[in-house]
Symmetry: C2
Subunit: 514 residues, 2 copies
């Protein structure tokens, strides 16, 4: 690893499961390209689009992605990002002068292996485990299916992507900054190190890392392999110090390795691996531009009309219908608050903008049903005379969500566990009503914004009810001051800083033109 203080210039090889652009065919048979959404993709596109020698390795997600990869014989392709994403000709450097481009290596994965990798192991097994969502009495049950999926899916797919990364690193002379992302690729670091010992390997995890007990749910061979794979990196980074400590405790308790919780390192043979934390963030400027757009202001007008009349207040939540988001307890807390403070009935509404998620997974389908059942019970118990306490809208509508951010009085984020939670950060920078953030202590965001929020304890419905009441009745001046302070924190720690801090600590300047 580079000595702190020195800075070396290295080309960047990036790996994440989803890439920044995906290809399709439109009705007339023409190839189209669409930009990916999501925090990670947005964050990293900025980095690699500035670097002519960078490459982004990701899964070929669509049939057309596979076709594009095949046309170029698995080599990287160049994609212009503006004004619309479009594929450039082979070695198309220069043909998109002045517009940002990104070099993509689309890795084709055989469908059965991808299914094993993605829908049996990574989601739900690792996701559930890392969010503490297993009631161990009956789930998980590891059978032949899971064992095969681990070997033929997770391990095989990791090997496939490791091979692609290794090829790209070798094409750059063996020296590169390799940035690996998320729980899909725990095994890649070690594989790349073995073949490219001069590479600087950095891993970033976007979801929680629980303590040793949670990992004991996995067969010993798996958990040791996953940890050992991660320890192949030079740096393993998380959103919070708590997750980084948990990672070191896992190395200590599950592998018996010596760790230093002051220096935040673990000794692996003659190497030292650092556990670090960098809270991810949002593109503040882009979010504010979106909030000012006609589409959003139109929605905001309608929402104000509906929910924000004289003496009325609006609680908002914006989430995927993932059990980790703790949506059901949120409604129970709202109902408890209405019971404890009946004077609020008719005055306070709860708007829940929920994007249905992973409905092919039974636990997610059951959870969506439980959400619907709970809303029905709350509305039947507390509604009437034109007042519907909870307005549940199941759809993904970013414009509407941002409009709701601007007009809400309280944003509720009560997740059981959440790596960061960007909804909290988005809302505080665009809200215009001095809204209060009601934020779970189990989110990464709570480390930065907790001081300006009303803290929620995610399993304690009564406490959440009390906290919602506190938020709704807080002095307007205090509310405004806190909202502004929170917004400043996000402005100062935006997505650009998330990246530059990592690069600074690594002592690396991403490579310039060759």
């Amino acid at each position: 690893m580079t000595t702190p203080g020195t800075r070396s210039e290295l080309p960047v090889v990036l790996l994440s499961h989803r890439g920044p652009v995906s290809f399709e065919r439109d009705e007339s048979g023409d190839r189209t390209a669409s930009r990916g959404a999501g925090g990670l993709v947005t964050a990293l596109t900025g980095l690699v689009s500035d670097l002519p020698d960078a490459v982004w390795v990701c899964a070929a997600d669509s049939e057309e992605d596979v076709a594009v990869a095949a046309e170029r014989e698995g080599k990287a392709v160049q994609v212009a990002l503006e004004p619309e994403a479009r594929l450039l000709d082979a070695d198309g450097d220069g043909t998109a002068e002045g517009t940002p481009t990104v070099r993509l290596r689309l890795v084709e994965v055989e469908p059965q292996a991808h299914d094993d990798f993605y829908t049996v192991i990574a989601n739900p097994l690792l996701w559930f485990l890392q969010h503490g969502m297993y009631g161990l009495a009956l789930a998980p049950v590891l059978t032949k299916r899971e064992h095969a999926a681990y070997e033929d899916g997770y391990v095989a797919v990791n090997r496939l992507f490791a091979d692609a990364v290794i090829e790209e690193v070798k094409a750059r002379g063996g020296r590169a900054l390799v940035m690996l992302h998320d729980y899909h690729f725990y095994l890649v670091g070690q594989a790349v190190r073995e073949r490219c010992p001069e590479a600087l390997l950095s891993f970033f995890l976007h979801i929680p890392w629980p303590g040793p007990d949670a990992w004991r749910v996995l067969p010993p061979a798996w958990r040791e392999q996953l940890l050992t794979g991660l320890l192949g990196n030079d740096v393993v980074a998380f959103h919070t110090e708590g997750f980084a400590r948990n990672f070191l405790l896992c190395a200590q308790e599950l592998l018996g390795l010596p760790v230093d919780l002051e220096a935040m390192t673990v000794q692996v043979g003659d190497r030292e691996v650092a556990a670090r934390h960098y809270p991810i963030s949002i593109d503040v400027e882009a979010m504010r531009e979106l909030a000012a757009s006609d589409a959003v202001t139109g929605h905001a007008e309608a929402l104000r009309e509906e929910f924000c009349g004289q003496d009325r207040q609006l609680i908002l939540r914006v989430d995927r219908t993932d059990p980790s988001k703790n949506i059901v307890r949120g409604f129970l807390a709202f109902a408890t608050m209405l019971e404890d403070h009946p004077e609020l009935a008719g005055r306070v509404s709860f708007l829940a903008l929920l994007q249905p998620s992973r409905q092919d997974v039974p636990e997610y389908a059951d959870y969506l049903a439980e959400i619907g059942a709970t809303v029905a019970r709350v509305n039947a118990a507390h509604g009437g005379e034109g007042y519907q306490p909870v307005d549940l809208r199941l759809a993904a509508d970013l414009d509407l969500a941002v409009a709701a951010y601007t007009v809400c009085d309280v944003l509720m984020v009560n997740a059981l566990a959440d790596g960061m939670n960007l909804v909290a950060k988005e809302a505080v920078v665009v809200n215009r009503r001095a809204s209060v953030l009601a934020l779970s202590e189990n989110t990464g965001a709570h480390q930065e914004l907790g001081a300006f929020a009303v803290t929620l304890h995610p399993f304690d419905v009564q406490q959440q009810a009390d906290a919602l009441y506190e938020a709704l009745t807080m002095d307007p001046g205090l509310r405004r001051a806190r909202r502004e302070a929170a917004a400043r924190v996000v402005e100062e720690n935006d997505i650009a800083k998330w990246l530059t801090s990592q690069l600074n600590d690594l002592g690396v300047t991403p490579g310039a033109d060759r």
Copy 2:
């Protein structure tokens, strides 16, 4: 705390929720006394029945217990233990010459407070949490009920018992060895220390102690209070080193206290608290006497007839129907083994002797139903022509269980989490068929007996199926050698050693006659 090496003579004040004797009225209105069952009670009765100055503080469990306590105005009573348990007259020392006696202080708890303490907080909340049984998506939900139950139940009842302990310690001049037991009484140690600073305080936990994440499910105020309460003791002891390490990690991660994982201590102000481990065990001689009794040998004859004919083999499990025991996955593993090795169908039976448990708790009632449903599915899929693969018997019958220990070929213990698991220890000392122990890595017993067992990974049904097959087909000589080695471990680490090790480490000789 006494310096190691020196030994001081101290009277003993013991606290556990259940005591060694409970009183009733029979049909003719006469007072009767019955000995309690369970490992803890058996273990400790031996200790205090030898010590005239010892006292055992416990809950008045029955109406008649309350009446006995009232007659003596809350003072301790003296009970003779043999040949039948019976209450002695006030200050009845000497009236039972030659028979062991125990001094009991029965603490009356107001029913509502006891219900809050016992059926809302200790079971299921702490039990579930400490056995990893919450799927956090929907449970637990902490409402007003739980908050009130914590304050008016758990905290209040701990205070009540602390007061009784303090009174007994003061009656002994303020110097005593105070031995506190189990998850019902996390808060007592600190309370006693405040009022009796000269007492030597030792706490023993009989269930698992999970790492910090699990405790984060509780409201911060509760988890800090529970930990701080425990840290009022001089020694906090567990069944395994793993649990002791988890306890120190909790002090470190949740309270920010400095811990030493080599010395196994935590610094609390100017005091040092030790985390130790002493694996509890059984009374080997008593178990072997029981195994030789007519009642047991009669049952054993019948079981041999039914399950142990030419070329047949018997898998046994003996458990309460507690989800932590992992009964459903055990049957799934057995079914998987029959699928993988159809030649075993008709030859191998699975006898499950299950004692229904806590059926007033919905999760337990649901789990019992799932057990029944799973057995029906397995028997329908794999049975026929006089062969019923699983024989499920729902009852508590110690004689039958011990008989089954003697004749089984494999004893399955696949618990999700289990402080110790004494079934494993009982079976290896009385078995007569060179049975193989198939033992979960998540039991305390695995630390001692794992080397002579086939290890089970409790969430991995395929692995358990493979392990059962390995056990059934193991070379008979190896089986015998392992069974005998395991029995020797239990013989050498019996219940007497569990106690004497603790007393030796404390540097204490329990007080002799005054």
